[in-house]
């Protein structure tokens, strides 16, 4: 920005005056103008400054900034909103919808919020690491309250801004304490993972995951790529309900993944955004993490309550670091705090209180489990219905069973970019360009329409 042009608003020929003299003149004018803070005389001050000598640069310092493209996931909802077509369907972002395609606030959440308001709790700053009651219940939920890692106080838990914020804190820890260490991420993975590691300056590489031929897991590729990575890499694993594919390893495969990770001294890093949401059972969905913890491995787990408690906008989650000793855990926690302080000082209370009220209260906790089973159940039933519609309408013999085999909110349809675009442009079905659809946004009533769209895009578009 070489040329910062100064121009003088008033008629005063002050260009030739020194700064000192300029200031003297404006000072003289200033002292004669009474400044009244109750508003009415503010306009006097304003007009005074307009005739004063120094005006700001004419050219924006930011004139060369380019328009960034819309977020590939969150941008889908924005595009959907703008569409006026009556059959439009939003299968973009992973946010649960009821059969009527309405957002859903869980009953237990409403109850918890009412309790909180009745109690009249204050709004003081949380400690940097977040709400203690929340940190306790979230670790217990993840590992099991009687798990050795909890009993031995070997878990450093810090409240984070949902999954994203928790991942970012972990990435910042990795960058600072494991300089040069890379993180292995699945191919494909959630679109924002790469952004998080890029911004945190943590190098990443991919391990094979999705096999388009089988529309299933490329297990050999996965093992081979994890094995080939430099000793001591971090391996990002989706605890359950892999996003975007919906394809999870079997328990036997998890054991083998743990074997190779231990062999190579890698550090497992779980992203758990769907605990309870995938199978409907909190414990079952935690089994991969608990399998690794049971082997005495050190590991990281990022948690999110966006989906399973429907607390999307409250931004509530946690980063857990399981260490070999309680002392290491205490030190790691202190360093996570040091990374959070210059990011946002301390995390927001509201969502944390909701979670600790629900999980900490046996009655609400049971009610939550029921609501979660209901949500997971609805998704399983639309999977079935979509599958049935596809089989009924598609006479090509294509195997659509991957829809039933995949788990969680998302299905990887196998549609390519052009086909996905056809889904949107011709059928007003909004999804991400990688072929991912969110079944949480699908109603039974629209399964047939969606089946038509998928069959058309798959067969008629290359």
């Amino acid at each position: 920005m070489a040329s910062a042009m100064l121009s003088l608003a008033s008629a005063s020929p002050s260009a030739s005056l020194s700064l000192q003299e300029n200031l003297k003149i404006s000072w003289k004018r200033g002292t004669s103008s009474r400044i009244n803070f109750l508003g009415s005389d503010f306009s006097k001050t304003k007009s005074f400054t307009r005739t004063s000598m120094t005006v700001a640069v004419k050219v924006s310092r930011f004139k060369d900034i380019t328009m960034a493209p819309p977020d590939p996931i969150l941008g889908v909802s924005e595009a959907f909103k703008a569409d006026t077509h009556e059959m439009k369907l939003n299968l973009g972002v992973g946010a649960y919808r009821t059969e009527d395609l309405q957002p859903y606030v869980l009953n237990v959440v409403k109850k918890a919020e009412n309790l909180m308001l009745e109690r009249g709790e204050n709004k003081e700053y949380l400690p940097i690491e977040g709400l203690a009651a929340f940190n306790k219940v979230t670790a217990e939920l993840m590992f099991g309250a009687d798990n050795a890692v909890i009993q031995q106080q070997r878990v450093a838990t810090v409240q984070g801004l949902s999954g994203t914020g928790s991942l970012r804190l972990a990435a910042a820890l990795m960058e600072r304490y494991f300089p040069g260490a890379r993180v292995l991420i699945s191919s494909p993975t959630w679109g924002n993972h790469k952004n998080i590691f890029n911004d945190a300056r943590v190098p990443w590489s991919e391990y094979r995951y999705y096999d388009p031929k089988t529309v299933g897991l490329d297990f050999d590729g996965m093992i081979s790529d994890i094995k080939a990575a430099p000793d001591g890499s971090f391996v990002l694993l989706h605890g359950c309900a892999h996003n975007p594919t919906g394809i999870d390893p079997t328990p036997e495969q998890w054991e083998k993944i743990a074997d190779v990770i231990q062999e190579r001294n890698h550090i497992p890093f779980f992203d758990v955004a769907y605990q309870g949401f995938a199978s409907g059972s909190l414990d079952e969905d935690a089994s991969s993490v608990r399998l690794f913890a049971a082997r005495g491995m050190e590991l990281l787990v990022a948690q999110s309550y966006s989906k399973n408690l429907g607390l999307y906008a409250e931004r509530i989650g946690a980063i857990n670091v399981v260490c070999a000793s309680s002392d290491a855990a205490a030190r790691v926690k202190s360093q996570l705090k040091r990374l959070a302080r210059p990011m946002y000082s301390n995390p927001p209370i509201h969502g944390a209180r909701i979670v600790s009220n629900v999980v900490g209260n046996p009655e609400l906790f049971n009610e939550w489990k029921e609501e979660m089973e209901m949500m997971a159940g609805r998704i399983k039933s639309v999977r079935q219905k979509l599958y049935d519609s596809l089989c009924a309408k598609d006479k090509s013999g294509k195997d659509w069973s991957f829809i039933l085999k995949q788990i969680g909110m998302f299905s990887f349809t196998g549609l390519n970019i052009t086909q996905s675009e056809n889904m949107t442009n011709k059928w007003h079905v909004y999804m991400t360009k990688d072929g991912r659809i969110s079944l949480a946004g699908l109603s039974s009533a629209k399964c047939e329409y969606l089946a038509d769209a998928i069959i058309d895009s798959y067969h008629n578009v290359k």
Binding site: L161, A324, S325, S326, R331
Partner: protein, 448 residues
């Protein structure tokens, strides 16, 4: 990308070597190596062995220490959180009302906010700080994004500047809020200081300020406290603000305002926004980080906003799109609760009025505490000129006590403050003023 440094095996080996080498190594005082018998049987050494324990945050750590103290006389004048005359945290009535309204509204959902946050909140926040009739707003030259209170707004603004602005140096006042240098450094800016506080007058070192900003490279970023400077409570006069503005514009420096106390300093929202509006009125560009932690008592909700005033609507729109790229990999989108409370209050005429009244009451109580403390020191004949207590503005007073005197006060009188001698007047009450006055008197007469 970093080039590979020590492998995990090397790191473990170094940790072991340090342990075996013994106490001569400075790291040992920080690194406590786990004994072989601790932890899970058969567990390997921790990959976190080399991670040392971080010290407590100097400001928030004061509260940690306070909480550990069992003395009935203890007083927390550390962190800047408002306390009532009874020493209790305060949730504003109007905030409770807004929360009840939100809860009663059955149409409300918890869907993700846009990356830039709640639209209403953003518009209302811009109006609050810039003035409802601000030409910058009318001309669509302002982009406002909801952020995590003041800290989050500063961090997002800093990251944006580190990526997109040609001058990566930011000048911060000496002294300033302890978290400022950390936020900007980690955001990727290089931090320099400009003279601000004069310990002799306990007022503004205006000459030093002008000199230092005058010698800053063209285009450098300048952090300005919009009002109620933290930690000193010393603000420029309106005339001084005008001079600062002219200097900044003449050198094409980029002003970045931190506005954490609008309405809290003088009791008047417009008066406390004067400095910001002065700059915006000349048509130039600036950044403003706003916080609702203090003025709406929403501390833990983390509500704030970053406004960037640009030369044109087109630039503002492009800037906004780039801000989203900073935010998305940090936390995706901001929390809804606090922003909804703020929007509810700001958009309702009655609630807005109610808020200004409650806000003025808080500001007045603090001004009252200043007067009481000043009178108490005078009546004790405490040596020194304590008039700065009533001249300084906002939540904090820079007492002028040195760190030995502060340590003495904490130890003997169980009064907690930051080691720079900053006290939060918001933490005082009529009942506790005498105790503090005694402590200051003792420190000043017995500890040098």
């Amino acid at each position: 990308m970093h080039s590979g440094v020590a492998s995990p095996a090397d790191r473990r080996l170094s940790a072991l070597i340090r342990h075996l080498e013994g106490a001569s190594n400075a790291m040992d005082s920080d690194t406590i190596t786990a004994s072989p018998t601790s932890g899970f049987p058969g567990a390997r050494n921790s990959v976190f062995e080399h991670v040392v324990r971080a010290p407590e945050d100097p400001i928030l750590g004061v509260t940690v220490a306070y909480n550990k103290d069992s003395s009935p006389l203890k007083l927390n004048l550390g962190v800047g959180a408002y306390r009532t005359e009874e020493g209790k945290p305060l949730v504003l009535n109007v905030v409770r009302r807004a929360e009840q309204m939100l809860l009663n509204d059955s149409s409300r959902v918890k869907e993700y906010l846009p990356i830039v946050g709640l639209a209403d909140f953003n518009k209302l926040s811009a109006k609050l700080i810039l003035g409802a009739d601000s030409p910058a707003i009318q001309e669509n030259r302002v982009t406002t994004v909801q952020c995590l209170s003041g800290t989050g707004s500063l961090r997002v603004g800093g990251e944006f500047l580190a990526r997109h602005y040609h001058q990566r140096t930011i000048y911060i006042p000496l002294p300033t809020w302890g978290n400022h240098p950390k936020v900007f450094t980690i955001a990727g800016l290089s931090v320099k200081t400009y003279r601000y506080y004069d310990p002799v007058t306990r007022g503004l070192n205006f000459q030093g300020l002008l000199e230092d900003l005058g010698s800053a490279p063209s285009g450098a970023i300048v952090l300005l406290h919009a009002c109620a400077h933290n930690p000193t409570g010393v603000d420029p006069t309106p005339q001084q603000w005008e001079q600062i503005r002219q200097l900044i514009r003449s050198k094409a420096l980029l002003p970045f305002f931190d506005s954490a106390y609008q309405g809290f300093a003088s009791g008047n929202l417009d008066a406390d926004a004067h400095s910001v509006r002065l700059f915006v009125a000349d048509g130039g560009e600036c950044f403003v980080a706003q916080s609702y932690a203090k003025n709406m008592g929403l501390y833990g909700e983390r509500v704030g906003a970053l406004s960037i005033v640009c030369k044109s609507a087109d630039v503002a729109s492009r800037v906004e799109s780039q801000l989203k790229l900073v935010i998305r990999p940090m936390y995706s989108n901001p929390p809804i609760h606090g922003a909804s409370i703020v929007a509810t209050i700001l958009k309702d005429r009655n609630m807005f009025q109610e808020w200004t009244i409650e806000l003025k009451a808080m500001a007045d109580r603090i001004i009252n505490m200043r007067q009481q403390l000043f009178d108490a020191l005078r009546s004790r004949g405490t040596p020194g000129d304590w008039s700065h207590i009533i001249k300084q503005i906002g939540m904090f007073t820079f007492t002028g006590l040195n760190s030995e005197q502060v340590a003495f006060i904490t130890k003997e009188y169980h009064i907690y403050m930051t080691s720079d001698g900053r006290i939060s007047m918001a933490g005082l009450s009529s009942r506790t003023v005498p105790h503090l006055a005694d402590a200051i008197h003792a420190a000043v007469t017995r500890v040098v």
